[in-house]
Each structure stands twice: as structure tokens, then as C-alpha cells.
């Protein structure tokens, strides 16, 4: 009670203070609420004054974001200059001056002979990757959530999450070693039990490359990705399960009718985030998996962009244009997915 009167007193004091300062400055006061009426800029300025001691806190992050996020966006304009070559010397100014305004760089996308293969490989890996890497963490979380002992579930979690924190070079190094045709454990084992007649070079084999990319993604990411579903399952009200048990529901039925419907929003959000990266397989993984034998399988949008812009520096205009298109596709997938999830699931990414 005392607290309430205290706070109302304070409010009254604040309002009257406002009113006094308002009278001095000839500012309008709302007759109903007794608060000062300000226009947009006046309001923002008032808030700026109020928070002047902390608003400068955003400046370091803001300047970094402007320098490394927005300045390159201005630099994107170079895609609209004809015949620019950024590697001729003279830096960006020289490249800028060498051409005129034109859209000819965008035509490169249609005429480039290798872009089809890059797109095909990227979409194939990501489509089948999605089919496999997306449901597995959900299944993993369902199994984890069913472990009764807390110590046991913690142990399983610690082991299964570990690969996510190993770098791609480490991951590829580990498996290239296990699958090595000369001294690998796997080949040794498969030859011993008679499945293979002679050692097989998994990392150097073209038909095995795409499955291997997906397998390494599963090995590295499944445990960690399951955490988010595991947390969602853990937050479900236990009484639902108890009631279902009393009604004689089996574990499969509980998963189908209680767990899965409850975590649908989480699944939806994760799906949106995954689909957003449909144009990218992951440069670090693919570069680490590079072998001379499989370079046509490894040839994706990521590696193509890297090759023509940084590694061999052969086609900067195409790389610039491709980068823009790539960014726009990701942007639209993200915005579209978010709009769908807002409508259907009532959850939003931000």
C-alpha cells in the first residue's frame, strides 16, 4: 500500500515537473493525461537528452557495422560499371574509372558456362542435406529427452555436442584419417570382414563426395542442433505426459500427439533458418574437403565465387554480381520464411 502511494506521488511530481518546464518553453500539454505532447523529432530529442549518458554506447558497434557492413554495400555499385577489373592496379578508384554505367555484368550470369554446374551441385547437396540433416536432430532430441537418468543424459549430450566445436579442418582431418585408403581404420575393418576386396579412397571418389559432405554435416552438427529441440521438449508441461500415460498412450503416441505438436514453432523457425542458406554449402567445409580428383563435385557456388574472386582472381565482375544475387536470394528467403512463420506459427525470428 505504502509503495503504491509512493509511486503515484512520484508520478505526480514527475508530471508537474514536466508541466513546469513545459510552461517555460511554451509546449503543449495533453489535458487528459497531463503529459507533454511532442512531435516526432521533439520526442526523439527529448529522449536523446534523457539518455545522453548512455546513447553513445552504440557508437563502437555502429561504426564497425557501418564500416564493414554498409561501406561494402556502397562498393556493390561497382557491379554496375562496365569492364571493371579490380585487380589491374589502382584499387577501387582505378576500377571505377575504367568503365561507364551499364548492366552488362549481370548478363554474365546468363552466359557463364560453369555457373550451371555450380548451381546444380549446390542445390543437390543442400536439398538432400536438408532431407537428412533436418529431421535427425529432432529424432536425436526425442531420444535424449527419453533418458531417465540426469547424469546419463548429460554424458550423452556432452559427447554428441563435441564435434560441433571442432573446426572443419579438424573434422575433415579426423575422417580423412579414418577413411584413408593406405592406413585407415575403416578400410582395414571393411576389408577384414570381407565387404571390400581392396581399400577404397572415400575422399577421392566422385560418386561418394556429395554423400560424404552430408555425412560430415550430420556428424558435426546433429548433436548440437538437437539442443534447441531438446530444450523445447524439456519445457513442455509434464502433466500432459502423465495424463497421456494414464490414458494408456505409448511412447510413440506421446511423441506423435504431444511432443511434436508442441515444438512445431521451434521446428518452423529452424527450418526457415536452414532454408535461408540454400545457396551456400559452406566454404570452409568444401575447401577442407578439396582433392584434385573430386574438384568437379566440390564445385559449388561458394567455391566458384572464391575461385574467381580471390584464389585465381579471374572474373571479379561475375563474382560481384553473383555475390549480390546470392545475398538477395538469402534476404528474400529469410523475409518470406519469417512472414510465413509469423502467419502460420505466430513466431518471428526477430
Amino acid at each position: 500500500m505504502e509503495k503504491m502511494t509512493d509511486s503515484t506521488n512520484e508520478e505526480v511530481a514527475a508530471v508537474s515537473e514536466d508541466a513546469v518546464s513545459a510552461k517555460k518553453k511554451n509546449v503543449k500539454i495533453d489535458p487528459v493525461t497531463g503529459q507533454v505532447v511532442r512531435g516526432f523529432w521533439q520526442e526523439e530529442l527529448h529522449r536523446l537528452k534523457k539518455h545522453r549518458s548512455i546513447i553513445w554506447f552504440v557508437l563502437p558497434a555502429l561504426s564497425l557495422v557501418i564500416l564493414f557492413g554498409y561501406v561494402p554495400m556502397v562498393g556493390m555499385l561497382i557491379a554496375f560499371r562496365s569492364k571493371f577489373n579490380v585487380y589491374m592496379g589502382g584499387g577501387i578508384a582505378g576500377a571505377w574509372a575504367s568503365g561507364t554505367w551499364s548492366l552488362e555484368n549481370f548478363a554474365l550470369i546468363a552466359t557463364d558456362p560453369r555457373i550451371g554446374l555450380a548451381l546444380k551441385n549446390t542445390l543437390l547437396i543442400n536439398f538432400f542435406g536438408l532431407l537428412i540433416t533436418f529431421p535427425l536432430p529432432i529424432i536425436c532430441a526425442l531420444l535424449l529427452a527419453d533418458i531417465k537418468s540426469a547424469a546419463m543424459s548429460k554424458f550423452v549430450l556432452i559427447v554428441l555436442c563435441l564435434p560441433n566445436f571442432l573446426s572443419w579442418t579438424m573434422t575433415v582431418g579426423i575422417w580423412a584419417n579414418v577413411m584413408s585408403p593406405t592406413d585407415g581404420m575403416l578400410n582395414n575393418f571393411l576389408c577384414d570382414i570381407g565387404i571390400l576386396k581392396e581399400p577404397f579412397d572415400f575422399f577421392g571418389s566422385n560418386p561418394w563426395f556429395k554423400p560424404l559432405v552430408i555425412f560430415l554435416k550430420v556428424w558435426k552438427g546433429t548433436g548440437w542442433s538437437s539442443i534447441i529441440f531438446y530444450a523445447a521438449i524439456a519445457s513442455i508441461d509434464k502433466s500432459f505426459f502423465e495424463a497421456a500415460t494414464l490414458d494408456g498412450a505409448s511412447k510413440f503416441q506421446k511423441i506423435l500427439w504431444i511432443t511434436l505438436p508442441t515444438i512445431v514453432p521451434v521446428i518452423g523457425l529452424q527450418l526457415i533458418m536452414t532454408v535461408t542458406y540454400i545457396m551456400s554449402v559452406g566454404l570452409e567445409q568444401l575447401m577442407a574437403m578439396y582433392t584434385a580428383e573430386t574438384k568437379h563435385e566440390q564445385f559449388t557456388v561458394d567455391t566458384y565465387l572464391y575461385e574467381i574472386s580471390i584464389q585465381d582472381k579471374t572474373n571479379a565482375p561475375l563474382a560481384t554480381v553473383l555475390g549480390i544475387v546470392n545475398g538477395l536470394i538469402a534476404l528474400f528467403l529469410m523475409l518470406g520464411g519469417n512472414a510465413i512463420s509469423k502467419k502460420l506459427l505466430r513466431t518471428s525470428l526477430w
Binding site: 526523439e44 529522449r47 539518455h51 548512455i54 546513447i55 554506447f57 563502437p60 558497434a61 564497425l64 557495422v65 564500416l67 564493414f68 557492413g69 554495400m73 562498393g75 556493390m76 561497382i78 577501387i92 576500377a95 531420444l143 527419453d146 550423452v156 549430450l157 556432452i158 559427447v159 554428441l160 555436442c161 563435441l162 571442432l166 573446426s167 579442418t169 579438424m170 582431418g173 580423412a176 584419417n177 579414418v178 584413408s180 592406413d183 581404420m185 556428424w219 530444450a231 490414458d247 494408456g248 498412450a249 505409448s250 511412447k251 503416441q253 566454404l283 575447401m287 577442407a288 565465387l305 572464391y306 580471390i310 560481384t320 555475390g323 549480390i324 545475398g327 529469410m334 523475409l335 518471428s348
Partner: protein, 301 residues
Amino acid sequence: MKESNQVNQLKRKRFKIKSSPPDIVFDVIKIVVLVVSIVLVILPILNIVALSLSNGYRNPQVTIIPLGFTFASYGHVLSELAFLQAFGNSVLATVVVTIASNLFMSMAAYPLSKSDCPFKKGITTVFIVTMLFSAGIVPSYLLMVALHLTNNIWSVILISINNVYSILLYKSNFLGIPSEIEEAAKIDGANSIQLFLIIIIPLCLPVFASCVFFSIVGTWNSYGAALMYIDSAHTSQQPLALYLYRMLGNTDKNTSDEWLITNKSNIEAATLIISVIPVLLVYPYIIKYVKSGLTLGSVKE
């Protein structure tokens, strides 16, 4: 007995429960799947540890027990200048990125967490747009050229400090701080910097801890930016992850040293093991703070 059977039948009718596999099937699947996945994770790691401790054995193959136990590969790795330089670069990058990123991003999140922050919508949009859209490789590379930062470890450091996602994370955590605490601190005469460092950060320690650990692991492991900005002629500037990438990709055998040739895979294994030690040191803390709600679902206005 009869009655209970009838009740059960009724229940089945009412809820249209179809017959489903019994729980024992689920339990068997669960145990088999989890045991197989644990073995799949642990076995390759034990294999590479064993290999790093072995002495040049190709045949018979090393499984999980070292053959010809020796630390010679580790000794060789630790005496290699390029490795030590790369290790030093990675330590520098990780320390600077972790401190700067978490300080700057949490600072930016603090005013944005106030409901009456000036230009709140505008500033938030400026941040989020960079999360949704990036200009691509070439313009970023040109910027680095213009800043004279190519082939310099600082290009990787500067570009890694930005992390809009952690701004959102910090912001949603600051929302939960009661304003009374801040007012009390102000009355006690704390200025805004003291308030932030002494009151806010300790109050949000779990989220700070998890963001710090993720910065450490992320910076230590990633080499995508380094691949863009540091070419193979400047090995003194490369971070450890890039060194590892180039080591694995390097297939030429231009060495006359017999020991180096027979122990090639052992040396590579030892390099990988040493490089993963900092991550393993941080890993227990990551697991500890996982439950502090580090999910995108929790990031909301």
C-alpha cells in the same frame, strides 16, 4: 477385471487410439541409436589421438591404441616456426575479438534495451539489415585493400568483431534487469560506465559467459575470412585454422628427411590435437551455460 477391460476399450474408442508399437521397441531403438552415435563420435577422435602418439606406423594400422608410443610428433610440431606463428596469431585474434566483440556488442545492446531509447527503431534496423544482407566477397575484399589490411591478421580480427546476433541476445537479457537496481546505483553516484561495468555485466553473467565462450571457439576455429584476406605467401600472418587447412591440402613430398615422410600422418594428427586443446578447455563451460536459454526463439522485441 472385466470392468477395467471395458473402460480401456471405451478409452480407446473415445480417443481413437490406434494400436502402436509397445514401449520396449522405442527403448531398444533409443539405446541402439544413441550407443551407435556415441561410438561414431568417440572412435574417430580416439583414432587420431592414437595416431598422433604413434611412431610412423602405416602397416599394421593404428586403431585406438598407439603403436610405438612416442611424443616425437608433438615435439616436431612445437619446434616448427610456422606453426608457432600461426598459434600466436590465433591467440591474438581470439583474445582481441572476444574482448572487443562482447564489450562493443553488449554496450550497443544496453541503450537499445530501454523502452524510450532515442531512434530505437532506426538503430535496430541498421544493425539487423547487416545480418540479413551482405555485399559479398568482392566489395569486402576491396574494402580491405583500401584499408591496407590484406595479408594482415588484423583484417580477420576487425571483421570478426561484428556480431549483430549477440546484440540481440544481450538486448533481450538486459530487458529483464529491474530498473530499480539501476536507479539505486545512480543515486549512489555511479556514472553510466560504472553502472554498466559494475552492475549490468555481473547481473547478466550467464549470457556474457556463453557469448564469450562462443566467441572464443568461433574465432579459434574459423578460417573463412582468413582464406579471403591472407594469401599463401604471407604465412607469418595466418591464423592456426588456416595453417591447418594448408597443411591438410599440402600433398607435395619435397622433403628428403625420411622421418618426416614416414611420420607425415602422425605429425598432422599431432598438429590437429594441439590445435583443438584450447577448444577442449572451453568446452565444459559451454555445456554448463547451454541451459541459459541460448536460443534464437528467446530473442524478441
